[in-house]
């Protein structure tokens, strides 16, 4: 097994065991989606209209919640120092960690989104669109979050700063995710345009995220 595959498997195993955060994210997602109708009222027509926005916001926040554990646990137990000293390039190592994080935190959110769509009176077409946009967009959220996680890894109370750093950078992903979902339902723009830009954002942050995170880790932990 290559070191990167071993790293990914290790992170995934840790995430599903006691103390890992794999299912807490989905639980939080469910809670947020349950709370919103209490705030805006049980009007099904309204919920169907703002449903994609609720799902996207919920997924964004649930994803944010898991980020402070992305590198911090490894920093606490010292394995991050081993990763820094290892022969594999640090950029690839943090990219592998981000991938494992996305599989354990991001992917469950994508799978849960159509089920939660039922609660929000979304028709199957809209639910499918939201799930598809989340599938294309959550990698961007994870990779942008990776930068924030790397910048705040050594801080004692890094979680709040991490949110403040990462949320403004997530605005484009949110805009194109919700626009693409709405485009699939009603429209005025074709689904492909915002969806293509969303995929572009994901690909771009998959490059910038690990690079910037590796720089931040090298500069911050010497």
């Amino acid at each position: 097994m290559t070191p990167l595959a071993a790293l990914i498997l290790r992170d995934m195993r840790l995430a599903v065991r006691v103390g890992g955060g794999a299912f807490i994210g989905v639980l939080f997602f469910l809670m947020v989606v349950t709370l919103i109708p209490f705030a805006v009222g049980p009007d099904l027509a309204l919920l169907a209209r703002i449903g994609p926005a609720i799902l996207w916001l919920g997924a964004l926040l649930a994803n944010l919640l898991g980020l402070d554990r992305l590198l911090a646990t490894d920093h606490e137990d010292g394995s991050l120092d081993l990763i820094l000293m290892a022969r594999i390039p640090l950029e690839l190592a943090v990219a592998a960690k981000a991938l494992a994080h996305w599989i354990t935190i991001g992917l469950p959110l994508v799978v849960a989104a159509p089920l939660l769509g039922i609660l929000l009176n979304l028709d199957p077409r809209a639910s499918g669109a939201v799930a598809l946009t989340l599938l294309a967009g959550t990698p961007a959220l994870t990779c942008i979050g990776l930068i924030g996680a790397a910048l705040t890894v050594a801080l004692r109370r890094g979680g709040l700063v991490l949110a403040v750093l990462v949320l403004p950078l997530n605005i484009p992903v949110l805009i194109f995710g919700v626009t693409a979902s709405n485009a699939a339902m009603v429209g005025p723009v074709p689904f492909g345009t915002p969806f293509g830009i969303l995929c572009a954002l994901s690909l771009m942050s998959a490059v910038i995220g690990p690079l910037a995170a590796a720089i931040a880790l090298r500069q911050g932990l010497d």
Binding site: L151, A154, R157, L165, L167, P168, L169, P194, I197, I208
Partner: protein
Amino acid sequence: MTLINLANPSRVLALSARILPWLTAATVLAFAVGGVQAYFAPDDYQQGATVKIMFIHVPAAWLGIFCWMLMSVAALGTLVWRHPLADVAAKAAAPIGAAFTLMCLLTGALWGRPMWGAYWVWDARLTSVLVLFLMYLAVIALWRTIEDPTRAARAAAVFTLVGAINIPIIKFSVDWWNTLHQGASVFRVGGSTIHPSILIPLIAMLAAFTLLFLTLHLAAMRNEILRRRLRTMLTVQAAAAT
């Protein structure tokens, strides 16, 4: 004096002490010229006297963007050359940039009230400036959470550069989002070319505000250098006391 000499804080302090009075005088002079020109500039036939808000609003917006560019150059100085002055420049610039961006937002709100009938509309430009302001606050928050100044400088430098890549993307996506939601309900400013009677005062005010920024930035850099000295002295004192 080469760039490497500026790594010595004492030299920077001495040099800036010589430059600062001249820069301050130039700023006062530029504001006097720009202020008089702005005062005598004609009112707009549609907007009346409120158009004069532009003479503060536009320079503030320009400096909000300019300051992030300056911070990005300083960030490169921090990460690539490890230049100590770059750390100081970046740290001193962030609150000033945030202040100018806030000034742009506030004057925009005051201008928007008589023109659009609301202090705030989710217009594309307003929204992207608001996001820029949030980014400034985030970078200041990062500076204030990491105790060790050199490590804080590196973290802030990485974030500043990521921001420099992302701010144009955010601007693009907000424009996209806005055209989708708002359409042409908000009237366009600056669609036509600006008449010289307004353009010349505007350029004068732009120059004056830029000089003000440079003055404030240099003074803030001096303060930051002195603050670091004080910090080191206190640390040494505390270490000696124990």
